[in-house]
Symmetry: C2
Subunit: 224 residues, 2 copies
């Protein structure tokens, strides 16, 4: 009864958006193994989620399945890719070419999903002679021109923590509106700019918390 725009469903829940890339990867795996059709149960198992949750997630995109049959793998894969936006090409700049920046520049998972690293920038002049993943490491001063010339809207920060906020400020001023931050700092950015944070030590600390609980109360959940 709700009037929904057929070509592009509105307001997909954030939790669902975070899972769509997982479904996309699972579908790609199924397609590579020759599967042409799958049920929500199979796909959910591959993606590591509940089948009811999967179906509800997919229902936000539209009705792309066939009752009694399941989903066409290739068709659903394309629909999810289109919804996320990875059918188009996303130019990306990486700032901070230390150990982590190297790893990110060489990560094949970016290019295969529509992300194209157009430039590697570092503030240290000693690094400007290096060539990483087929790209020259350039001066951070070139940020504005690179962003403008390549219509870059996504920036990756892999600098030390102290530099991260100023890099973010320059990125925002240059026109970047989405930032993936690997530096262990809280970034403050204006409204309209999205920031996602990946913090390696926080993940370990969360594991440590649960690990500690396991050893303190070993019989709390598991009957010995």
């Amino acid at each position: 009864m709700t009037a929904r725009t057929p070509d592009s469903a509105r307001d997909i829940p954030e939790a669902t958006v975070a899972r769509l890339p997982v479904y996309l990867r699972a579908l790609t795996g199924l397609a590579e193994s020759g599967t042409t059709t799958c049920s929500s149960e199979e796909l959910a198992a591959t993606a590591g989620v509940n089948s009811a949750k999967l179906r509800k997630d997919l229902s936000y995109l539209g009705s792309y399945g066939t009752r009694g049959v399941g989903y066409d793998v290739e068709y659903l894969r394309y629909q999810i890719a289109r919804e996320i936006g990875v059918t188009q090409d996303w130019p990306v700049v990486i700032v901070g070419i230390g150990n982590l920046g190297h790893a990110l520049a060489n990560y094949s998972g970016f290019r295969s999903r529509g992300f194209r690293v157009v430039a590697l920038l570092d503030a240290d002049p000693d690094r400007h002679e290096e060539v990483v993943a087929g790209l020259d490491v350039r001066s951070f001063e070139d940020l504005e021109s690179i962003v403008a010339d390549n219509a870059v809207s996504i920036g990756v920060i892999a600098t030390p923590a102290v530099a991260a906020q100023s890099v973010a400020d320059r990125m925002v001023a240059a026109g970047i509106t989405s930032i993936l931050n690997f530096a262990p700092t809280v970034l403050s950015v204006p409204d309209g700019v999205d920031v996602r944070k990946v913090d390696l030590s926080i993940e370990l600390q969360i594991l440590a918390y649960h690990e500690q609980r396991k050893s303190v109360a070993p019989g709390a959940e598991v009957v010995s």
Copy 2:
């Protein structure tokens, strides 16, 4: 009125656990800048959260503040560190010493928070001659003995996706009960084993989704 064990509060919500490391980092920063006392408002601003949420989070640990005054930075920092478990030493093994494994091995944020990398393992014999971050890269076959000798309970997987599940299986069999997975795969592990996933391309895809929405409907939220 609820009878709460005073020394160690029970069942801290998962969302709170995920934020405690952020508070810990913020407190460390405040301590280094010479601040001895702070209000929930200040700390919340530093940590990038709402002050009400911060107070509720801290209330799960106990009453470590003083009304009308605020929190003692050093005291609160210690209490949170103890609750998370980073006052003790956590031995960690890293498997897969490619670009990302290098970056992780060299990441200083681990050691400074109680995590000690005790071994770097790789299946490729060509890498066994390398020394990374002061540690020999050893054979993956040594996993079991290393885990046993060092009482390792946390493992980090930085291998390609195809190897991740078998590495995880070996880790679990060797006695590891917490896994931080950087490989782009869904791991299946038995109950009692915690897995946290860090997926670089998923983060970018989430950003791409929102970025796409911005350009498609620029006036949807912001009044022009």
